[in-house]
Amino acid sequence: MTPRLIPFFWLAGVVHLLIASANFVAWRMFDYRGELAKVSRTVRQVFVVQNVFIVVVLCAIAGLCFVHAADLAGATTLGRRVSTFLAAFWALRLVIHLAYYDRVKRGQHPVFDLLFVAAFVYLIAVFMLGAIA
């Protein structure tokens, strides 16, 4: 384990909470309510549930970063494996952001776009360091 890594995992926890809170901002920014009026009630409910579950998952990962930072920084084998999984998780999320999400819409919000990319890159780097520690 590298004790010097631990504060970086605490910061990763904060980053997860910020990303989770962005889900609430997105509802207004992208007018999800108006958008969802175009689809059936079932799809509308599924979308809301998806959002809730993603927020819950992000908050849970934040909790792991705060409470089990030493494990994630390499203190235990399981911690290194979880860090490996989370590095892959965020790497895939970065690829989706850059290759799949609407470039026109991203271009309309360049600051948010840059912040998201920076957050994803930070999380990938921290979890990769934990995975190989």
């Binding site: 799809v43 819950v56 849970a60 409470v67 089990h68 399981l78 494996r81 979880v82 999400y101």
Partner: protein, 135 residues
């Protein structure tokens, strides 16, 4: 407990396999075509991520159950998280999804009962692991 964790893993993998039919059954492609590109992309991305989580829980439980059964706090925390995840799914089933939209018929009722039974079983298994039951 190891047997229960492995069985729970198979349950989640079966659930993930079955849920691949949901987009077709509910017409997600046609429905989401009405949305703006970004909203549609967020919908599919989140759906894919949740599916991947379910598969990940299933794979860890079936292939390396000892990771979850390790006597370390992180293992308990991960098991506890999986228990809360599925408990939330039970709450959503009854408190959020509009039951008027449920298809009628005995086969659908039996399917829903089986689904809820699986969710509850997952909560019990991972909850037991999280609270320290090892035997």
């Amino acid at each position: 407990m190891r047997t229960f964790v492995i069985a729970a893993g198979f349950g989640q993998l079966a659930l993930a396999a079955g849920s691949l039919a949901i987009p077709r059954v509910l017409g997600w492609r046609e429905e989401t075509a009405r949305l703006r590109p970004l909203t549609r992309q967020v919908f599919w991305t989140y759906a894919a991520y949740i599916w991947c989580f379910n598969v990940s829980f299933g794979l860890v439980s079936t292939l390396v159950p000892h990771w979850l059964l390790d006597e370390v706090p992180l293992a308990r925390a991960v098991a506890g998280f999986i228990a809360v995840y599925w408990a939330a799914r039970v709450v959503v089933q009854f408190a959020w999804f509009d039951r008027q939209d449920m298809p009628a018929g005995a086969i659908y009722r039996a399917g829903e009962a089986a689904l809820v039974a699986l969710f509850v079983a997952l909560v019990l298994v991972y909850g037991a692991v999280a609270t320290g039951v090892r035997r």
